[in-house]
Symmetry: C2
DNA sequence: GTATATGCAAAGTCTTTGCATCGTT
DNA sequence: AACGATGCAAAGACTTTGCATATAC
């Protein structure tokens, strides 16, 4: 997903290309795999655009979400975190020691979806798996 | 998990047995598979104990959670929902049409946990899978 | 020029906390 | 009697909304 794609999607859906929207998009793109809360995005964009407002972060994120360009994830407590939409299914590994959030692809989830449809008539549209535990680094650190 | 178990766990952990705690426990027990928000629990208990307060719901739920007797789940937007702890792993199927929340046992998740540990060194302690989609009834209704 | 987006501030939702009082042990 | 739990109200964290102004088209 490139920056151009984001602009195109905005234009094609009849929405205006404001500096605010472009900046939020850029921040998320630079974040890569990192997940950002609305407030983190706000602070980052504000460096460039001092009058920028939190309300605009939320409005922009909702819009990107509706367009399928960004995705919100609620991990345990605290604010929701955001990332640009990926093509591939992935789930989140949250380390309870260092707080790191990593992605992990899991082809097995597709099988779960199929099973739910065939055996239980439930048409899964979204599967969110959040795994909490100890990441490799923290396990090594703990046993040292 | 019986009501007696709940009382025992409270006593053994050195906590007091108040009517409030017993009532919250009873409400959750009667709820069975149904998931209740703090406010729903509050209203239910208040029928019996008019001076009952929301703060006590949250305090009681935190306590039950610490004792491993109840479990909180955050499903999309809105308040967290609670249920008594189960022995078996299960995930949640949320129907976006009727809002129903059902449980589903999934032995496959244990395999995912093993895979994460062996291949990625991540020691999974909790796996929360939330599946959003259309339940059987709503699919039938939609296609009718 | 016009409709949409922004900034600001206020309100809304859900949850937690401080403190005096009450009740279990 | 002592300490923990409750009720109440106030505050806290996160997010949404109303409205006047600004701006992309």
């Amino acid at each position: 997903m490139t920056q151009k794609d984001g602009r195109d999607a905005l234009r094609e859906s009849g929405h205006r290309m404001t500096p605010q929207r472009v900046l939020v998009w850029d921040v998320l793109r630079r974040a890569g795999e990192r997940h950002m809360s609305a407030e983190e995005i706000f602070h980052e964009v504000q460096k460039t655009l001092p009058t920028f407002n939190v309300a605009s972060v939320y409005r922009t994120l909702s819009l990107l979400s509706e367009l399928g360009l960004a995705k919100e994830t609620r991990l345990a407590d605290g604010p929701a975190v955001w990332e640009l939409a990926h093509d591939h299914r992935h789930h989140h590994l949250v380390c309870r020691a260092c707080g790191s959030i990593t992605h992990h692809e899991e082809p097995g989830l597709a099988r779960v979806a199929l099973h739910l449809l065939e055996q239980h008539g439930f048409a899964a549209e979204e599967l969110d798996l959040v795994v909490t535990g100890l990441c490799h680094q923290c396990r090594v650190r703990a046993s040292a």
